[in-house]
Amino acid sequence: MNLELQELLNSVEQATGYTVSVTTKEISTHASFVSATPERPVHAVFINPKYAQWGDYLLAMQCSMILIKWKDITRIPDFSPDPQIVNNQIRNISGKMENIPAPAAQKFSSMLISGLLQQLNSIPIQMMAVEICRDRCPSLHRQQNESIQNELREMTSVLDKKIQSTTPQEIFERCVAMNAAYSYHWAEVSGDASITLSYQAAGFCAKGKELLGAYKTIDPKSVTRYQETVDSWAGYLNLNGWYTWRYRSNR
């Protein structure tokens, strides 16, 4: 195994007290993880075999995210959407979809809302993890470049006119703003600004930069940088109250 990745895996075990187990599994994302608990005493990382060529990097990212979440083992955060507000939003959005039958509109709205919240929860921590991997795993830079460029290409497919015309504006703009922030962040980390062209062309430059600016104002050493960024973005995107933080202790 790649030595830097092994060191990262060791860091997770040292910091959290639990080892990491890796499983190849077809999932909807590139990779994911489930944090260990006393009842399930292993961090379970899942890697999508479709992206196997960047597997080491994806594993390094998941390890970095575990380290971020477990920075204070007495307060491990869990992002928890507020069911009442989410249901209200689903009703609100689906009510505007006049040309779609109600059950389909409900289902589509539910998918959009959960996707939006998933992005709010995941993009800030991904940006932090990207920085950790850049710093701690230089030998994975090539994999990181390829994997993120591929991910950003997948993300820009959202800008397709068909998707834009079928997605309610308030959801579309928030999603794209977060994607743009991720794109601008990667442009800064990698030095390759070409990846931001599509957001410039589509007019999402300002909002993306605004979110990236908010991310940067938070002290990188702060133990709660992840939660603070999510909260700050929620403020910018008018998503306050759509979720709560739940904390658990590993002591």
Binding site: G17, Y18, T19, S21, V22, T23, T24, P38, E39, R40, P41, V42, A44, I47, P49, Y51, A52, Q53, G55, D56, L58, L59, R153, T156, S157, L159, D160, K161, S194, I195, L197, S198, A201, A202
Partner: protein, 365 residues
């Protein structure tokens, strides 16, 4: 669509142009905005134009037409070289458009036909691919790569007899063609593993970073009873790409091999496993069902990277249970734990005889 050696027009939908070849983003391609148009024009002019050919790029809605007119006798070769490079870059959608036109313009060009046939075969269009590859082998009967590609296409179509003929033909023309060796070995191994062993060994040696070649050889070694070497080759195969679907198959094979080695060592019912099962039953009874689930889960997850069940000197530790354990002991604990949680769960190893024995002994205590 115009296609003759003197004038070719490629017509691409913007989404068919591979962004990795162009310095623009996919959304810009879809939007058809001017930076995208400029990038696309530059790309074709730089790749195909200058002294070699006259190039005209014309945008029509969400399509782009690229007209090519040769300027020198070398133009055709350069054009075909560019087309092959597109395939090498993995831009299959774009390659499909390009090669369908080239096959029309140069209907007897072997490079064009062979690449087009392989592309269609890779894309699963076997009914189109096979006639093109047959035509290629008719035009050039000593083209080992074309025979190999035809063999692969037949194999994908599950026409194993035709595949065997084509691959053997390729092998007879070029006995050192490593891809033919690998493909022929894989095909023969389906029916006669011992006969395929030497071919697959050679393929694995010559293609150390080809996971398929390593897996094929490892599997064949297992089927021919060389379990220790099979295990070593399959571990090597996993290292090539640890997170691929093929790596998962290698892991399953390794579990099966460990099991076979254990059975070879211990004959019928393994009494050491029976004793581990009884110890697990006693331990779980003390600890209760929730803790049992936790332990079984932890062992199952840690076992993802493989326990060495045939090495009693190697010890493992758990977070959920104090002490040090051998691999065999842990797998027995997992087996019993999973049986207690849900008897239908598959632990990946068959300790059913030992478990039944243990259960009877445990009840009589």
């Amino acid at each position: 669509m115009t296609a003759s050696p003197d004038r070719i027009i490629f017509r691409f939908h913007l989404s068919e142009l591979d962004p990795s070849l162009l310095p623009v983003e996919p959304s810009l391609l879809q939007a058809g905005t001017s930076p995208a148009a400029e990038s696309i024009r530059n790309y074709f002019e730089k790749s195909l134009g200058f002294d070699l050919a006259e190039i005209h790029v014309d945008f029509q809605g969400d399509h782009v037409n690229v007209e090519w007119k040769p300027r020198t006798p070398n133009s055709e070769k350069a054009l075909i070289g560019w087309a092959v490079d597109i395939l090498k870059a993995g831009a299959y959608k774009m390659g499909q458009v390009v090669f369908s036109v080239l096959a029309e313009a140069f209907p007897e060009n072997i490079v064009v036909l062979c690449n087009y046939g392989m592309l269609l075969s890779d894309l699963g269009h076997l009914d189109k691919a096979i006639p093109i590859l047959v035509k290629t082998t008719n035009l050039e009967p000593d083209h080992a790569n074309a025979w190999n590609a035809l063999g692969v296409a037949y194999q994908r179509k599950e026409q194993d007899e035709d595949a065997l003929f084509a691959l053997q033909k390729s092998h007879s023309i070029d006995p050192e063609n490593i891809y033919t060796i690998r493909n022929l070995g894989g095909l023969i191994a389906k029916k006669d593993p011992p006969k395929a062993l030497n071919l697959l060994k050679k393929a694995a040696f010559l293609l150390p970073n080809d996971q398929g070649a390593q897996y094929g050889y490892g599997l064949c070694l297992r089927l021919t009873g060389n379990l220790a070497e099979a295990s070593s080759v399959l571990h090597k195969a996993i290292d090539v790409a640890p997170y691929s679907e093929l790596a998962e198959l290698c892991r399953s094979e390794l579990t099966a091999i460990s099991h076979e080695i254990m059975r070879e060592k211990g004959g019928g019912v393994r009494m050491d496993v029976v004793m581990y099962c009884i110890a697990a039953m006693e331990r779980y009874k003390e600890l209760g069902s929730e803790k049992t689930k936790t332990i079984a889960f932890e062992i199952a997850m840690l076992g993802r990277s493989g326990f060495d069940i045939n090495n009693p000197s190697k010890k493992y530790k758990l977070k959920s249970l104090p002490g040090e354990f051998t691999g065999l002991q842990l797998v027995a604990y997992m087996y019993v734990g999973l049986k207690m949680v849900d008897p239908s769960l598959d632990s990946g190893i068959d300790f059913s005889r030992e478990y039944e024995h243990a259960l009877q002994l445990y009840k009589t205590r």
